[in-house]
Chain length 531, copies 2
């Protein structure tokens, strides 16, 4: 139970201790190949050298892709205008707070009633450590970050079809699955079943590693013991004085574990996109959009609905109306256009793009997704269940419950991500009135946290297919559509370049939007310089 195992000192290590280790020159050489940048397409702040000579660019959409383009092209000397449908910038980089009002397609209006300091991010809500472009813009724009707790070993895994519907702690499923795998593989090795695959010294090392990693006993078995409890948690935790003797906990049986299907939730935190650490802006995801907006306020025309895009050999003309009063039309013109309007919307806008581009636009469906924000009178997940941040997963339609990564252990209220649904469930939820969505999310969540019944105060639900300015969550490429249409979608169409998460290999992520934009403006600048 101490901090970690004690090292024993080898001769090599003793040499290191006195600073005369051999081979350090070779090692230093190896080190120079390190560094993170080589793995990322983001190579630090973009450098658009050369004078664009007054060239103008019209940017459609003030989401992250549009604002990155605006910021960098202005910096490079371009004449930039941005048209934005909404009354503010950010796009899907969006946070709803108490006092906000949101009207969705179909006319339902939700008035957000969260207490001050609480929020829901209907769109992106976490930043991987390797989203270098997002992180760098946060740094440059002064957006403060805090850890987003993605993996929580004390959160629940829940299935209506397993353990009588009783939620299980992640640490129990995680430890027991690993322990079972280690025990079974050890047995196979010891029965010489893998002698063709693992030979000689590897065989002994494999057994040693399985024993350690899987918390196996000296007979290579995963059994109820203090040792396995040091991984999965105890029946009774160790304590102090005369009352502190720990009691081990009993592992779940192999069949129950396998048939529960709860192992399907173990991988999330091992995925590159969801590995710890992850981050969120302090105060809500739209702190990023707000920071961009502060820089670009004078370039953006808000409340502007694009109704036609027309290009000639000389330039691009965009016709628009006021978003809230679709009477009179006006036009804006520029030499070039960066169009970040989602294809789901763009497919409804008159244009004279090429046939192949319009085929690409038509070929990209947008994912259905719903997010719920539920304010609770009391942070019962922390107070009753010691769940501080992280995510519980369930096979109920809500799919998951996300716990806030703020104000830990401070008491008071909290807003849960009461669900985050995809696919058929998301279509179902989106088809309902918001209050019915919320009612169901509360009913379902109460199966995992019965405290919902007493503590729920108010809630909202954003179904992305009803968000008027995206009509969906993100562009879904299949292997086939990407092969057929992506090269067209990403390439110049006359004087227009598309940008946004849909023009990337990281759909749905802010990083995709930014990298797409940087790629687009790099090519635009090259073309301007070569003209």
């Amino acid at each position: 139970m101490s901090d970690f195992s004690k090292p024993s000192m080898s001769r090599r290590q003793l040499l290191a201790m006195i600073g005369t280790a051999a081979g350090s020159a070779a090692m230093y050489q190896a080190m120079t190949t390190l560094g993170v940048a080589q793995e990322s397409p983001y190579q630090g702040p973009i450098n658009l050298d050369g004078d664009p000579n007054g060239a103008s660019v019209l940017i459609l959409g003030a989401g992250l892709a549009g604002m990155v383009a605006a910021l960098e092209l202005r910096q490079a000397g371009y004449n930039v205008q941005v048209l934005e449908y909404r009354e503010k910038a950010g796009g899907r980089n969006w946070t709803l707070r108490g006092g906000d009002t949101y009207t969705e397609l179909g006319g339902f209006t939700q008035n957000v009633e969260f207490d001050e300091g609480h929020y829901l991010n209907p769109g992106p809500w976490r930043i991987p450590y390797h989203h270098h472009a997002v992180l760098d813009y946060c740094k440059r724009l002064g957006v403060r970050l805090e850890p987003f707790v993605q993996v929580n070993h004390n959160a629940y895994l829940h299935s209506m079809d397993a353990f009588g519907g009783e939620p299980q702690r992640f640490r129990h499923i995680n430890s027991d699955f690993r322990g079972n795998v280690a025990e079974l593989l050890s047995k196979a090795v010891n029965q010489n079943a893998l002698d063709e695959d693992v030979t000689g010294e590897d065989r002994e090392l494999l057994l040693e590693s399985l024993r350690e990693w899987g918390a196996l006993d000296s007979d290579l078995r995963y059994v109820e013991s203090e040792h396995t409890s040091e991984f999965r948690g105890f029946g009774r935790d160790p304590g102090g004085g005369l009352t502190g003797v720990p009691e081990p906990s009993a592992p779940i049986g192999t069949s129950d574990l396998l048939s529960s299907h709860l192992w399907q939730y173990l991988s999330t935190g091992n995925l590159y996109e969801f590995q710890m650490p992850m981050f969120q802006p302090v105060g809500g995801m739209d702190m990023i959009g707000q920071a961009f907006q502060r820089e670009l306020e004078d370039l953006i025309r808000f409340n502007t609905k694009v109704i036609e895009i027309n290009q000639s050999e000389d330039g691009v003309t965009v016709t628009y109306t006021d978003s809230n009063d679709e009477g009179e039309t006006e036009t804006a013109t520029a030499d070039w256009c960066i169009c970040t309007i989602p294809f789901s919307i763009l497919s409804q806008i008159e244009n004279n793009f090429s046939g192949p581009m319009n085929n690409a636009i038509a070929a990209l469906p947008y994912a259905a997704s719903v997010k719920f924000g539920l304010q609770m009178r009391r942070r019962f997940w922390e107070e009753d269940e010691a769940i501080f941040g992280g995510i519980s997963y369930t096979n109920l339609p809500i799919s998951l419950i996300g716990y806030p990564s703020t104000d830990f252990n401070s008491g008071g209220k909290g807003v849960l991500l009461g669900g985050y649904s995809w696919g058929p469930y998301a279509y179902e939820f989106t088809s309902m009135a918001p209050e019915e969505r919320v009612r169901l999310a509360v009913e379902q969540g109460a199966r995992i946290h019965p405290q919902y019944n007493d503590e729920f105060e108010n809630g909202i639900a954003v179904g992305w297919h009803r968000v008027p300015w995206t009509l969906g969550c993100y562009g879904v490429w299949t292997e086939e559509t990407r092969e057929e249409h992506y090269p067209t979608a990403a390439d110049f169409d006359g004087r227009v370049l598309m940008a946004g998460e849909h023009i990337s290999y990281i759909p749905a992520w802010m990083e995709g939007a930014i990298l797409s934009s940087l790629d687009a403006i790099t090519r635009l600048h090259e073309r301007v310089m070569n003209e």
Copy 2:
């Protein structure tokens, strides 16, 4: 690459969707057995009912154990005095900041030169989510917490004896070990080597789960692919536009992986004590000690060195001098004594405890441990290597490098935990002058981060065997000494009860100190009430 796999709707789930799932009553019943408290010896704020009738308690030591006892006994109506050796409270709950001066046994003085806002916690530095007593006192005392990043998939695992000394990313070793294990076990199952252990439906479920969890391909192999890269990371990360095509990375070969021994570092984050999430007080660990001190200021006599403890049938008399001027002696008396002085120190204090108690005191060695704080001019681990918090492990004597869990992505300076050594290495380091310790920590750390050579500014090193008021890090019970001496150590010795991390089953942790104290004062109060 989207957020997670899409659910398909089963009949059961559809029923759940419309709120008429069968069996929900049974499920609700099961839910009532949930809750965290049952697993913990901490059952919320202690309740010492009844009037102690003016009984007095002398508490020796104003560490966490002593201060919990003082706070709760005063609240229960006892007459409480605390004697503390140092000029401030907290004990091993200790933070060193710029401007602090620390003089160790042997006379070496270190002047801490960190910039403002930076610190080293020489003692405890992280709080597990299940240390309910620590968390509850933080809440009650208003100590704000923030996440401590324990697990970082982008941190390094390093061995002088593997990969030519080149550090490996945790995610590479972690993914590849898991993938290899899954592939080998799948093969054994498919060769029917485990037919006696895994039968029928379990067999297919096991293969399905291994494929998913281990990132295996359709032939159940762990190979270079986009799929395995979605776990271990890519050769080139996916990007945007026309330049964003991802390139997969190549897994490490099985033999290299096993012989590296780096798998030994994979388990830390799976241990109950180190599972995410973990926490730290905002501003340094001693925010806890400071908060207690504010509550108890008037009860504590600082700079007080206990030189003799004498008890009779009626009470306890403690003789002390000024810590800084050991001339005159004074005495304090009380009906009872809670003694939180570490046994390493107590063994040198005159007393009239029973023979068995003095045997117990003599039988408990204290662990050697050294921590290093190194200030760097630049947060190169974040800027160059995308390591935001977490820990890199090495088989060098420094054992690990811990990255600060504060001010992420904000640029500027940072103080690394430049090493945290135990056992023989710790003895070696402690035997050196502080500046030599620091020199070696910098030299060794530079093998993992060559940037040390340019960026190191100043550093400190605390060797716990030279800390004058503990002479070691924590009390190390073996199975034998615990069986022979612990019951004596934890029980009444006349009118004295010991408390502290050493009188617990969670040695070295603040939770052990607090639970030990609560256990002791509960028994003290019972005895007082029964007299």
